[in-house]
Symmetry: C2
């Protein structure tokens, strides 16, 4: 047994993922508003699994094949041909228990597939609602970690970085962190943690602005709330399941 700590890096955008070695690492896919928050919530509420797909067409096709719930939005509205949206509030236990959710998202799914293509050791998905589960798992595994922010069309966003910072803040004693992006994420998180919602508002975060335009304040507040859907979603054979 060695005393050396595994490394931890943060990729603040999918366009920076290639800079980090994911081969023997656990990659945490982070898409706080709202994909990975909704995934944690649906799984916490008993969904059999969540299948992330990158297009509406695939979502419709797969939903039909496996009799799954199809979900996804484009420009703030349920995409044509799908049944449900991206809000975590659409997936209470009485609705989603024992069902399969086929979810199309853009940024999060793209990053997940990139990590897969690059040979990630393991892929899990993180968000504030399942912060505690993520941190405990990373500490227990004693493996290298790459925190991957889904961002918005490759542009860095505040909320994914704040979640990376929250993870770092909880797990840093267990890792060797030589990564300015990680330092930056934790710095911003420490600034923001008193009231994450107010921080997003005060900084006029681009995604805050976008979702408020769709009247989704309730979603934003929920997606910034730690530990309300603690579960560990692991990607296996094309599906996110609870470990």
């Amino acid at each position: 047994m060695t005393n050396s700590k595994p490394t931890l890096y943060t990729a603040l955008s999918p366009a920076l993922l290639h800079l980090y070695d994911v081969n023997h690492a656990i990659v945490v896919i982070i898409d706080v508003l709202r994909a990975t928050s909704t995934i944690a919530t649906a799984l916490r509420n008993g969904a059999k699994c969540v299948i992330p797909v990158d297009s509406v067409a695939k979502c419709i096709e797969l939903g039909r094949q496996i009799d799954g719930i199809t979900a996804g939005e484009r420009d703030g509205l349920i995409a044509e041909g799908l049944e449900h949206g991206n809000s975590p509030f659409e997936y209470p236990r009485e609705f989603i228990h024992n069902k399969t959710l086929v979810l199309t998202t853009t940024n999060g799914t793209k990053l997940l597939h990139m990590a897969l293509d690059r040979g990630a050791g393991q892929i899990i998905t993180g968000s504030f609602p399942n912060l505690g589960s993520i941190c405990q798992y990373l500490i227990d595994q004693h493996q290298p970690v790459v925190l991957g922010c889904a961002a918005w069309k490759d542009r860095i966003n505040l909320e994914d970085m704040l979640f990376a910072g929250a993870v770092i803040n909880q797990v840093k004693a267990h890792f060797s962190i030589n990564c300015d992006s990680s330092q930056l994420a934790e710095t911003a998180y420490l600034d923001a943690k008193g009231d994450l919602y107010e921080f997003m508002k005060a900084k006029n975060a681009s995604h805050y602005h976008r979702l408020m335009g769709y009247g989704l304040e309730k979603d934003i507040r929920y997606c910034l709330t730690p530990d309300v859907a603690n579960v560990l979603p692991v990607y296996e054979n094309g599906k996110l399941i609870v470990l």
Copy 2:
């Protein structure tokens, strides 16, 4: 005359520059430790111009052709075949006045050439020593701005981002800023501004660590000092000259 404010964006890594439209923008090349700090200092001390090149071979060749001072380091030592290093302290007025400095740097020069290839409207170089000149110029021009961080082999670094944050902090009233990277940079800067050097040390910034290993604390401290070499370096016809 219109009242609308020009946009300002921050690219925290060269790998993110393509996300921003530089065509009609002023692009500020930021390579705080130490390229753009040394450029400001040499020009402030009367250098005729600074020619940034991307390899030691080009530096030697050009230095011979135009009888310039050749300078550049690799792994903390003056590169073989060159005369001087990257430290701003090597370029006092009594030495550099009226001379041409041919400087090879990796990250900063690469970003400058990327901005040029992408059709940047104008290219200037910024660092804490010439912070005030940069801010005043950006306010006066009333043009779109892209703050470009040179980073380290495409990995985001703290010091370039802190400088971007310092600029944003001074100019933000004059720009329309819808950019989470800019918000992030300013947030970190506000945290750090009381003592930039201590911030870099406390966060164990990767470049701080690297340069301290070469015994360059004095360089780091100088490169984090605002307004000690206020001058505006503009890139024209392959040369950085004082506007």
